[in-house]
Subunit: 254 residues, 2 copies
């Protein structure tokens, strides 16, 4: 197996940020600058067209680290961030831009391309998790959460279905087409975000994906507003969700 | 106008609980045992068949007082708690029990009876709010929230539509039939709770009522489970909602 190779380290506001690679996969691990020897791990999947250090990623990571003392890891998805694009990636990205230019729905392209990326990304995440769990501050026995919207959900749903180490997940902002059947295999607690006035994802589609999860505990958060207008307080809510399920008393540390 | 007459006072866990009457209406006011001279007020509407000191009411009141320093008031709805039932009340309650015994849907009776109770309750709430705002620790200028599920929503929606002093509300667990038209007049921030597997309220009905609110900021929280299984963490979420909108930094006081 591949091990975590750290390549850079910075510290700000009580959070240590370490760039790493696992084989060819570049990632980043955020950890408390001081804390207990071991803490739960949250994996974060970034959205389509962004990367592991996109502001939403670093912002959520800082919330999770400073409020709960968790470790948080994000890797670049295939064809994203520091990773090369294949000819197929280029072709699908061109198709997406064409649909946008033409004012056509981008759903069909996004659903198809994200499903393809998920096939490549799931084994990468599993190899990364194997390697991260070798680190003494994470370990193989601790709880693991997953937090990813948009493309992060397209990758996270099959990952959570395939890997029982993930025990709680925040998903959202995706179509059910390639995911609903897989979501039916998922029984861990889920918090699911959708936008009530999403111009890309029909309301019924978002509700159908939420409905598909077999989880005994699942919560839908639907906010008024368009696709990119998920309120900031949903990140706070996700922190409290992981606090409940991975073990951290938010109110005592915030 | 009628004034608040206090009839009893107890203190526990930093919360002062004062029974009061405004005219014929019995109520209870929870306040911080120590705190600033003035604080926002949250009105709480109880559910059908319960009363102003039902455990869910006292529990939510203590959360709101201890975490945010708010004042919290609840009054008995017509025909509930310490209040007499009219012949019409007895008739509708009998109809509800008959429907339950017969295994018929209770929605039609509840919708009709709650709409009737709301007509009686809205002016009572407005008289109570008039009187509460005469108290120096509340005042006429402070923000006012409303928090009520089930029958508390049947009363709270027309109340919030009629009274612009209410600036944020948590509603939920009701049918749209008598309420959706009124909800269209409401533009204040709303958090709305529903149960995804509610055996009484069809999923589409709950979604339709949420959809009806004209609020720019509205959030739906749908949890897996049956009618009476709303998770406890939704009370915490309501506290944070009022903290955001009435003015209190929960994280610094919790």
């Amino acid at each position: 197996m591949n091990y975590v190779q750290f390549t850079a380290e910075t510290t700000s506001n009580g959070v240590v940020e370490r760039d790493f690679t696992v084989g060819e996969i570049p990632g980043v691990l955020w950890s408390p600058a001081s804390g207990p020897d071991r803490a739960p791990l949250v994996l974060m999947g970034h959205g389509g067209g962004t990367h592991k250090k996109w502001p939403a990623m670093t912002g959520r990571a800082h919330l999770l680290v400073t409020r709960c003392g968790f470790h948080v890891a994000c890797i670049d998805a295939p064809g994203h961030g520091d990773r090369p694009r294949t000819a197929h990636d280029e072709q699908e990205i061109a198709a997406l831009f064409e649909a946008r230019e033409a004012g056509e729905p981008e759903g069909p392209v996004v659903v198809r391309y994200n499903a393809h990326l998920a096939e490549r990304a799931v084994p990468e995440w599993q190899a990364t998790l194997d390697a991260l769990q070798e680190l003494p501050e994470i370990g193989a026995d601790g709880p693991v959460g997953y937090f990813g919207l948009n493309m992060g959900t397209a990758i996270g749903v099959p990952l959570a279905a395939a890997d029982s180490r993930i025990t709680a997940a925040v998903f959202g902002l995706h179509w059910p087409d390639a995911l609903a059947e897989t979501a039916k295999q998922i029984t861990i607690p889920v918090e699911f975000d959708m936008q009530w006035d999403d111009e890309h994802i029909p309301r019924e589609s978002a509700l159908a994906l939420f409905d598909a999860f077999a989880s005994h505990e699942k919560t839908l958060h639907a906010n008024a507003g368009r696709h990119k207008q998920t309120p900031r307080f949903e990140a706070d809510s996700a922190v409290r969700f992981f606090a409940r399920h991975l073990g951290c008393d938010v109110t005592s540390t915030a």
